[in-house]
Symmetry: D2
């Protein structure tokens, strides 16, 4: 009989749902995993919590997230609330000895992330942060090819995360553009590509960045003539140096008309190159240097059983994983880390590191100079 | 409180797993759906059934599928066994008043499919057959655009389903190439593209086909020097006439080196054209005639919330569905048809129609002439 | 000092211009080639001929093409007039001992093509026909890879030539749809893909075809309410058997809305596969079987100096050839064949072979049966 | 009778050949153009000049370029020698009253470019510099769409020119990496994308750049163990501000393994977006904001007759231009500017402006700060 592990989720929005679905999907795709028992769900609205409990199969619902912490059946807490609430919740959960999954970004600044990280490490609980795109089997392959030297020495990185959901200047002012929430394109989506760069190539040693606010005011409410000044970035451009010696560029842009998920990178090395786009995330393009010039070219690798854990979902190549499957892998790895007391990735430490890059970029942009990390 | 519906699954292989996962996923993605209660799972091996029950959460396991039929808690039976067993199981389930989901192809010949269809219609049970690729939101869009006249009058269809899993002549002889199972590339994967053609354009009135066996013998066992003659097709090519007046071509090929999921079509009409490939099934290419020549071109539509039920899985465009999500949509639609006593698609009648095309193609190839349906 | 060769061109339309440009471009790109001396240009309109002479640098112009035949300075005659005039002109030029380049299709039927071929072979003159797409360096690579066994045994071919220039039913009746001209989509563009199939895989042994007229009537003049019945095909679909043992499909379609140059093929073999589209004719996709499954995939080969005679045009990869460059290669090869008395391809014999396939397809469609060649 | 214009070319390498071919091709594609008379060709090697004269049809050859300047038949001088020789030659040609075409970069620094520009403007001669990629009809369309407001207000630009011809660290030290020649990836290929950015969006007001030498030493000769330090950039990354108010990024990289011609940009505006890659330079991807969400997407525009002067080369869409055709357009526009005394683009002034950006980037990188222009 498989061991169960009690899970509670705080928040019932897009990400609350994604967590619930992923926890439920884990045992199907990962039969040897700890089996999540959906003990409780919390929301500021108790009615909302009750509805989510019914829909996703939680045993109980609450309007007071603090009650989760006393529940001995809860071993894991998932925090999916707005960023400004993460710190208080995470610190309380850690204090109660719970393992914590927190959505990204974990905090509006590196200093708060650091506090959370230190608490978690002192309490020796397992943490994970929702940078789920790197859970893609194709990204694992990418990392492995770089780590094993198949690309030779890496010489260059080019990364982008561009979408268009804030392109329209008539989208009203909201928490998304409130600097109190550590918001802005870089903090909200750029951290995905920053995290991906670190996942593939390791620490960033220096940042030279320029952030820009394209839509300088927004209506205070839909259709309102009154407008409020926006102070966070719509576009951020970074030139980065990696500790390993190579350099690269990173762009975050949430005003890129027409783009829904341009989370892309290109990595060039002395022995090969890899190109990836989240727009077609079941593919990777690979150029191998030194091949016959007549037939050399970027090969389109399709995700398949040769790329674990793809085959936990479907046994045949070409079938393709979806976004929710990436979330399931993320949760399965989190539960495996809890079970085996092994390191997880990205944990609170990694989230802090990513936030440090974001903070350095903001400072670099303001001061007009390169910032070492 | 949501109404439950009792489900039993026969078979615990690739598709048995896919069904179990899909039933479990339905209530998460479709909160208003009947909620499947996983009552029982059957397998020829009782141990296998027990393992599956544990893994996927069925209440009980059995080595004798017939016991499912007496169980009043079972309202739905999913048949995921090899094709040659479908008929007996389906007829028994129908006789017991169960709704039946059966994997494709439902039978090795149209005559057996017809018998199953007639039994189901006489018993007034709901049936569904696992042609899941058409459950893709992008395919629903395609159908809708054709039906609404956005393409004008359709003039031409070109369809292919090519993979390479049987390309190697050293793959041993097995049920896959046994004509008793109605096997061959056309019957096994070609029916997907035949079904898709029908889904989009309606009935096929005439078939002119040539089937070919590329690998004419196969080892009787892995590595064996003894070889057995193969009589089923590796490649089938059809020229078809649709009842609506247009014509098209269809190819099935399971020896297409390098292809993992080339399930593709192109539809041309007087007002536009649509191109689709399952290799990138979250996309559709659309050309709209009559636009400004300076800027006209095939647009790459990305699946998103404008394409229901995409947003049952994720609220933002560009996130993409996976193969298993298509299976979940299929099961949700099946359960909705049961709940509302509404037509489902593709049902046993549709599966029979598809099989009629397959049978006609085999006859056309053998007789060297065009066959009306 | 390079030897000159006197050239005359009959016809001053699109193809007349293309020939003139190509002859002029040959010595630049192919410095060792015979140098074409543009002796004369002929057109039904003498004024048109004079204008072309001025524009393209011909020494003289004439309204009577027959005068070219007596000119001892003319060694080569290019025929670029409508198809129905080819036979008379070619026979006369051959009788006068000229080498002949003729645009495709050389004749409205195989029997006329045969007569022209026999005359040319009896007179021992060099001939060439304008199937210029196969002059692409990437196509030469394709052929070489197949011939050398890099694809293993070829198992399947899928070819298409689809455009949309006749999609609009209001395009008036003209020579294009006049069966006297041997017209129709198959005869006019389908012969390109038929020729390409033969170029790559050799002779076709059997054809099973269906031709269809989509636009069954056309106005007798632009905007006219009077309409005339169209008897030639808008779409032709062929299932073909190659002498080498494999089979394939071919489609010709000039009513494919949105397509400008979908001249495409896919070739599958036991050791690999190749995909090509004229829409991106400086590229070839190559899958090599047996590679590491982790990194296998279709490689996008870009035309470059490794693919002669690419580097006659530009020394660096990635720069790309244009359509007119393919025409230049065609002319250079024609002149080289004349100089060295070596075989050229495709010559009148090859054009006859292609026309035999077209004729067999028309007969197959009419009789409803497979036609051996 | 068309007016002739006498042309001389200095240099007989890759670009010398390209100029000769282009001058010869102009009258064919542009029948109303001045007709270039190839008066003379010069090379340091008189034998080389003679060979080029024979091959490309120049009337005379010389080992002393200065003799061209006294020749009254020479109205135009094309300079295709290494960059370090441009200044002397251009100034002499200008002093002799010749119109001057000079290959890019015109000078190793902006100050030398400025001197050349001033001389040309004072002498009132027409100049042009070989930034030929912008002569692409698809690029003209891009510029027009931006200028006409079809993209709305431009918010962002992302540009790259990456190739791999200097990726191998064993390529010997040469003029290419000699700072005396103003060399480096930015100066040699990056100026193409800088020029393209200016062509599309206008002047650049500020540069923040980091240049990097990846291959820090190179052998002094092929295979030599002795190595010499390289001081120029292999990779340059720029964050730029345009005068019009938007910002962007630019990368130059000649060590990008696998890339042959990744000259790419993406432009985002409030009403649309455009994506271009020189790897497929007969295409442009266009997203139009505000369209029906069901069918919105990036459209792949194929170059065709709607994009002048495409139809000067071929009358039908989908046929595609090649690199040499772009050069022909460049020369035709240069000759038209001479004939009509109209502005040409890019002229020496524009080349100076581009060089100013390059110089600013070098300075920004060295000083670690943003540089206004």
């Amino acid at each position: 009989m498989r061991r169960e592990i009690g899970v509670a989720v705080i928040g019932t929005g897009f990400m609350g749902k994604a967590h619930a679905l992923a926890y439920r999907a884990v045992p199907n795709a990962f039969p040897n995993s700890l089996k999540p028992r959906l003990v409780a769900v919390a929301d500021v609205s108790e009615a909302g919590a009750r509805q989510a409990a019914e829909q996703y199969g939680f045993e109980r619902a609450t309007g007071n997230w603090k009650t989760l912490l006393d529940d001995p059946n809860v071993h894991v807490v998932s925090i999916t609330t707005p960023c400004s609430l993460h710190r208080e919740m995470a610190l309380a959960a850690i204090a109660a000895g719970k393992h914590v999954h927190c959505e990204k970004p974990i905090a509006p600044s590196a200093s708060e992330a650091l506090e959370m990280m230190k608490a978690a490490e002192a309490a020796n609980v397992i943490t994970q942060v929702g940078y789920n795109y790197i859970k893609n089997p194709i990204l694992k392959l990418t990392r492995e090819m770089i780590a094993s030297g198949e690309l030779g020495e890496v010489t260059s990185f080019r990364g982008v995360h561009a979408e268009d959901y804030m392109a329209d200047p008539e989208i009203p002012y909201s928490w998304r553009v409130d600097p109190q929430n550590g918001a802005g394109a870089l903090a909200e989506i750029g951290n995905h590509i920053v995290g991906m760069a670190r996942f593939l190539l390791g620490p960033i040693a220096q940042v030279n960045a320029q952030l820009e606010t394209v839509n300088k005011t927004r209506p205070v409410a839909p259709g309102s003539v009154e407008r409020r000044e926006v102070k966070v970035d719509d576009i951020a451009r970074l030139i980065v140096q990696f500790e390993r010696g190579c350099s690269g560029s990173i762009e975050a842009n949430w005003a890129a008309t027409g783009r829904k998920m341009q989370l892309e990178f290109e990595v060039y090395g002395t022995k090969g190159a890899l190109l990836f786009s989240q727009e077609r995330f079941n593919e990777l393009k690979y150029f191998k240097a030194g091949a016959d010039l007549r037939t050399a070219g970027f090969a389109r690798i399709e995700a398949g059983p040769a790329h674990p854990p793809y085959d936990n979902f479907t046994v045949a190549g070409g079938h393709q994983l979806g976004f929710n499957d990436l979330k399931t892998i993320e949760m399965a790895e989190f539960l495996a880390a809890i079970e085996h007391r092994s390191p997880t990735f990205p944990d609170f430490r990694e989230a802090w590191e990513i936030q440090r890059v974001v903070d350095a970029a903001i400072r670099s942009s303001a001061e007009g100079q390169r910032i070492p990390l």
